[in-house]
Amino acid sequence: MAVYKRGYQRYEGTRTTAWERLMVLPRYSWSRLITQRLVIAVLMMSAFWPLLCAIFIYIANHGELLAGFGQGFQRFLAVDGNFFRVFMSVQSVFAIALAAMTGPGLIAPDLANNALPLYFSRPMSRWEYVLARLMVLGGMLSAVTWIPGLLIYGMQVGMAGSDWFSKYWNLGLAVFVGFLMLVLLTSLVALASSAWVKWRVVAGALVLGFFFVLAGAAQMMNAIFRDKAGSLLNPIYLLERLWMSMMGIDSPSESEPGLVQCVFALLGLCGLMLLVLERKLRPVEVVK
């Protein structure tokens, strides 16, 4: 029977599980995001670098193609920790750009439209809401970070064989964990910016500013105080230190902060973002 003829009847059917309810917001957000041309364009662009890296790995593992080149060039084609560090650094730029584009559209419209009371009057807590929004960004950023990273790593393992794997087994773990840390920090920064300001453009600028302006500020502090402690404010530096350490290619100078300090600084930044979300994501604003 046509809907308009049927009339309203109270729903008394089955109810979905908590997990299915949690996935509702990510599903709707993903379906909205993949209709945006700019997002698709960035996703496509972010696939070029992994593609180039794949070609690089193919060439590096086919010695017959390099017969005419000298030893220097063959050393340049070595697939090791440095190769994956460069791969991760380039991909992280795409990840940050993607987060700056998609993140602000996740919470800011809900705040601008006063939609939070509608979400929180349903069986959904504030932290479930944050988790759902994190999953949106986590899913998007995974497509440009650890998924292509592990594919590249798997390709190299497949071509180079078990000897290479036994020597560089830690690189796969470093790619996965390192990218996960990047995804977590970037997503939290994007969500916090989105919750902090209601204008998307400004929120997007905040995300970029967090990574690039803070890096500049850290350099300035280092120059002013003639020290390296300011680097603890630079999220890109902190992430790279973590990656390099896991890859076994970390060789900091004595004046640079230690790895443990870097990890705590990263966790501190994540905590700061969670604090912003905790303060901003309220179903009602209480004027004290």
């Binding site: 809907v3 308009y4 049927r6 009339g7 309203y8 009847q9 109270r10 729903y11 008394e12 059917g13 089955t14 109810r15 979905t16 309810r21 509702v24 917001l25 709707y28 419209p109 809900d110 439209n113 006063n114 939609a115 009371p117 509608l118 979400y119 929180f120 009057s121 349903r122 069986p123 959904m124 807590s125 309220r282 179903p283 009602v284 209480v286 004027v287 004290k288």
Partner: protein, 336 residues
């Protein structure tokens, strides 16, 4: 069966101000479903805070608020799974079409995808937005937005629908439509309704019970059904014809009547005797009923009395003070 809402010495503090100061009551005790409770009070009385506490948005300082036996603070998910909320302010996602928005809200409330889509269409037709269901919510007029908010509150068929100022900004036709829908929600679909409104007439038309708050305290809890029933016991009658023996006839009904001269009578009917009995009595004695009125304690009077603007209901013999003209509603032959 647990009452719809049970407050036990509920105190809520926001900042340094105590907004709710020890509320205790049980509302919707019948447990049959389809009860409408009105929440009234002057500005700043704590109505919105009470609603938000029921939704689990505020942590009580002490005491508890329970909906259907579930503590709103300790079991927020169980509570929220059973209710639908229509906020007072604009609250939606402007870039979504009404169908997508309702479907998403249905799914968030625990409906499977297919059922949510079906119900989204069904509910939008029900509230009169069927033809506009593929339009973005941001393009809706104020009245349409109110209807969309109502639709999202009832799509999942909750046990309790909380409506915060549902008729705000509606023109008379839309307001009537909204009130009809609210009446249908409780009478036909057996959902309980908690209606918070400044418009006393809306509450009077739709609610069975009313809770009046003032300065964070409950100043009155009235069962409107019982009030209406008891008010119908006080009748003023104007008869034409020979009224001799009418007093004796009244006593056969168990009613007491005073002849005020010129065919005018003041009558108090006993509980269980309806006004129709007077019509029968007059008809049996060939008396012509010129006028029949009964006192109606309007909600406005109850409200003003509760918040202290008047000391007692006009015409209420049990309370001494001023007795202006009683508010009466004329019951015509046609209406009976």
């Amino acid at each position: 069966m647990a009452p719809v809402l049970e407050l036990d010495n509920l105190r809520v503090q926001l900042g340094r101000r105590e907004i709710l100061k020890g509320l205790s009551c049980r509302l919707g005790v019948s447990g049959e479903g389809g009860r409408a409770i009105g929440l009234l009070g002057p500005n700043g009385a704590g109505k919105s805070t009470l609603i938000q506490t029921m939704l689990g948005f505020h942590v009580p300082l002490s005491g508890s608020a329970k909906l259907f036996g579930y503590d709103c603070h300790r079991n927020p998910k169980e509570v929220r799974a059973r209710l639908g909320y229509m906020p007072e302010n604009d609250s939606f996602i402007a870039e979504m079409t009404a169908v997508s928005f309702l479907r998403m809200m249905g799914e968030l409330s625990g409906m499977p995808r297919g059922a949510a889509l079906e119900k989204a269409h069904e509910t939008l037709f029900h509230v009169g937005l069927g033809e506009a269901r593929y339009r973005k919510l941001g393009t809706y007029s104020l009245g349409m937005k109110q209807m969309a908010k109502l639709a999202q509150a009832i799509i999942h068929g909750p046990d309790l629908v909380i409506l915060d100022e549902p008729t705000n900004g509606l023109d008379p036709a839309a307001r009537l439509r909204m009130l009809t829908l609210i009446h249908e929600i409780k009478a036909t679909h057996k959902m309980n309704v908690l209606l918070c409104s400044h418009l006393l007439h809306d509450v009077e038309e739709t609610c069975d019970e009313v809770l009046i708050l003032k300065d964070g305290l409950i100043v009155h809890h009235a069962n409107l059904e019982e009030e209406r029933r008891s008010n119908r016991r006080f009748v003023e009658l104007e008869l034409a014809g020979a009224t001799g023996g009418f007093a004796a006839a009244l006593s056969t009904l168990g009613a007491a009547g005073v002849d005020e001269g010129e065919g005018r009578w003041r009558i108090v009917l006993p509980p269980g005797v309806e006004i129709a009995a007077l019509w029968r009595l007059a008809a049996e004695r060939q008396l012509q009923v010129r006028k029949l009125t009964y006192r109606r304690d309007t909600l406005e009077e109850i409200f003003l009395k509760a918040v202290g603007h008047i000391r007692a209901t006009p015409g209420d013999a049990t309370k001494p003070p001023p007795l202006p003209e009683p508010a009466v509603a004329e019951v015509t032959h046609g209406r009976l």
